[in-house]
Subunit: 251 residues, 2 copies
Amino acid sequence: MNILNKEDYIEQVSIDCVILGFHDRQLRVLLPKIKILKNIWTLPGGFILQNESLDDAALRILAERTGIRDIYLEQFRVFGSLERSSPGLMQDVLDFHWDKFLESGLTAEDVAWVQRRFISIGYYALVDIHKVVPVCSELDESCEWYDIKELPPLAFDHAEIVMKALGYLRLMLNHKLIGFNLLPETFTMKEVQDLYETVLDKPFRRNNFQKMILDLDILERLEKKFTGAANKAPYLYRFKNNIGEADLHLE
Amino acid sequence: MNILNKEDYIEQVSIDCVILGFHDRQLRVLLPKIKILKNIWTLPGGFILQNESLDDAALRILAERTGIRDIYLEQFRVFGSLERSSPGLMQDVLDFHWDKFLESGLTAEDVAWVQRRFISIGYYALVDIHKVVPVCSELDESCEWYDIKELPPLAFDHAEIVMKALGYLRLMLNHKLIGFNLLPETFTMKEVQDLYETVLDKPFRRNNFQKMILDLDILERLEKKFTGAANKAPYLYRFKNNIGEADLHLE
DNA sequence: GCAAAAGTGTTGTAATTACACCCATGG
DNA sequence: CCATGGGTGTAATTACAACACTTTTGC
């Protein structure tokens, strides 16, 4: 448990990741429940190594919890108010793991730095929820997906961070075509529409939506998908991978 | 010169401000030239006090250089790559001010922390350029406005930060009505159009632009402005101050 | 009265919305 | 052959872009 060696990290700065997936017309957030006596969940987070860029740190933190490395992620805001830290909660966490610190020869002073005021860089990640196998870290009791509309009790200002991430996703959905990162390799038009309706929280007309998306010229139509349902089989689509960034408004 | 007391600040984190003004169909950036032997300009920046929120820190830094406190400002991105720091340049700055450190009883070790890797939070501020009287700090040789299209040589990654700020302003101009922060209390429709054309770098038709802006229902028309020119006097407008945030898309 | 710049109205075109119909599929 | 959901075409509406004309101002 030498992961808490103060000198390795940039002090008083953390990264918190809002990992978003989509399933069953729900936007879901991957949230570990930390091992303390209270029922408290947190955003997957971590610190920045001295010889590591911000994006690399975020990627490392994400890979730890999701097992995948090719992830779409982006910083969206820094959280740095004075009220956001909660030394009491951090003390509870330290208390819970105290025996491990003793084993590693760490003293209370060695780990006290985690109780200081922290500035947190918010990253959001969009993943194919089916590709992810949530992984518990040593500090986690569980690590599961939660509907963004029914979040469990979150520590610090993490509920606010989730909501800001959602706001950012909403804002960007029509600028960059980031939404497709939430879908699997192949998908039906209905899945795309469900995604857009869920994120933007407004309905679209089926035919108009299809025209809108297809006119972007970013999807290629594949074979039909026979689900066994008693209705016409929908086409499958795949995101074109040979599209220039200009077309995608990826700045 | 005890402004460099390491314990007062969050280490390895800085704030850099892109202060934007508008005049004469030019977007201008307020840039201090630092007192070293080379001709190098920087963004107005500073550190975050332990008992100060990010926004408060940015406001303090801005007030120091502009003399005004009611400023529109917002963080837009964090810059944290490994290559962005430049210990050599920081050493030049320290060398130039060495006598002051000696006077204050500071040693080389006391101030060495400014040469470490820094993460910088980018803020951009939109100001009425006529209200601002640029102020030199103790470290500045000069502090003036520069056309964003003809920037002087900037230190570190500050040129990139300016360009990212411009990109953010472009993106947001149609979402939030932030552009009016760049205009004086009262203004003509032509000034608004000049601003939009300069920022977005594309022309608008006079009548269509006027309709677009007035349809937003955010401006109130005042008396005419007689400039002495041999043409019809344009109306002056003022930004309505009783508008709900929802109307302004201010989230 | 004239040039310059501002105000306003009116048309044409493109984009969006709304409605309608037909087709495939499995029971 | 029927219910269900998917594909597609077309009309109605609205928004936007383009053009034209009128008004005010100082010389």
